[in-house]
Amino acid sequence: MDTMKDFKNAFSYGERNNLNFKFLAHLSEKEAAGFIETSFQLMEDGLNGRFPGRLIEHITQGQKKVYSVPGKFTYETGIFHALGKKVSEATIGLCTSSGHFVKGNDPKPFGVEGMTQTEAVYRIQEFLRETPQLSTIPKSVEMKNLQVRHGGYDISGTEIDGNITFPLEPLVCLEKERHIGKLADKLYSFVGACAQGALKKVVKDDWINIIKAQGIEGMILVPV
């Protein structure tokens, strides 16, 4: 039989892997037990048709607790560039770290074509040491022709509706309604679980030129 420690840790890339609850591994045994107990109470409310949003809020706050410390990269000062015009007159781009790509244009991580999500999860430590690859996604593509693979988060929601991490359809709609001057013809995605130093280098050396060639003046960025 598992100890409480074994049980909670198994949700983070272990035998009970569930990326929605991988944060349990970073809680103490007492904290994890408290989280689970409260979850059952909130599920009971849900069974009685009461406060369905509270369980979701509880899960979100559990995740937030683990990430409520500054990361490895902290900066005292910000960099700010004003758009200098109305969004309705500007060219707007989209780049997400969700791991989307067009079907048939697999970025082939580690040379593997058609890598499954399960394998990506299994190889997450290798991804974290790897230079990310930028996938170019035409704005004319249909959502059904996009694929997602990312070993760092639960992709079940984005498999149902990719717009929750790669909001292509609402942006096309906002362009049609003229809230956006022009949505860039090419949009971008990459796997955010990657080597951070290598990421900064490849953005400065390579990605920035690709993005500038699109005439993008404002960029919407979406981490997962």
Binding site: I59, G78, H81, H179, K212, I220
Partner: protein, 97 residues
């Protein structure tokens, strides 16, 4: 945080940015002093909300575009009151720099 690095480099290259992220990453992202940050009340992997909530996705993007157009750095909390029917939306602005 990959997107934080990307935001800072793009701003330095003359491209304005706005980040839409779940509030789970609030501390990580605010500690990177990003110019414009819209935080949503959803769990990891769902920064624009739940699947097939088209109106919600659009509302969040509209708020992000409003931030993008602004002339100062802001972190904005976008959330819906957990009032049972989750029908009322509010936002709160916090000056970053």
């Amino acid at each position: 945080m990959s997107v934080g690095h990307l935001a800072r480099i793009l701003e330095g290259e003359g491209i304005a940015t706005v980040v839409i992220a779940t509030e789970v990453f609030e501390k990580r992202l605010t500690s990177m002093t990003l110019p414009r940050l819209l935080l949503t009340p959803y769990p990891m992997g769902r920064p624009l909300g739940f699947p097939r909530q088209e109106n919600e996705h659009k509302l969040i993007l509209m708020q992000a575009l409003k931030l993008l157009e602004g002339s100062k750095g802001l972190t904005v909390h976008y959330w819906k009151k957990q009032s049972g029917n989750m029908s009322s939306a509010e936002s709160k602005e916090i000056l970053v720099e």
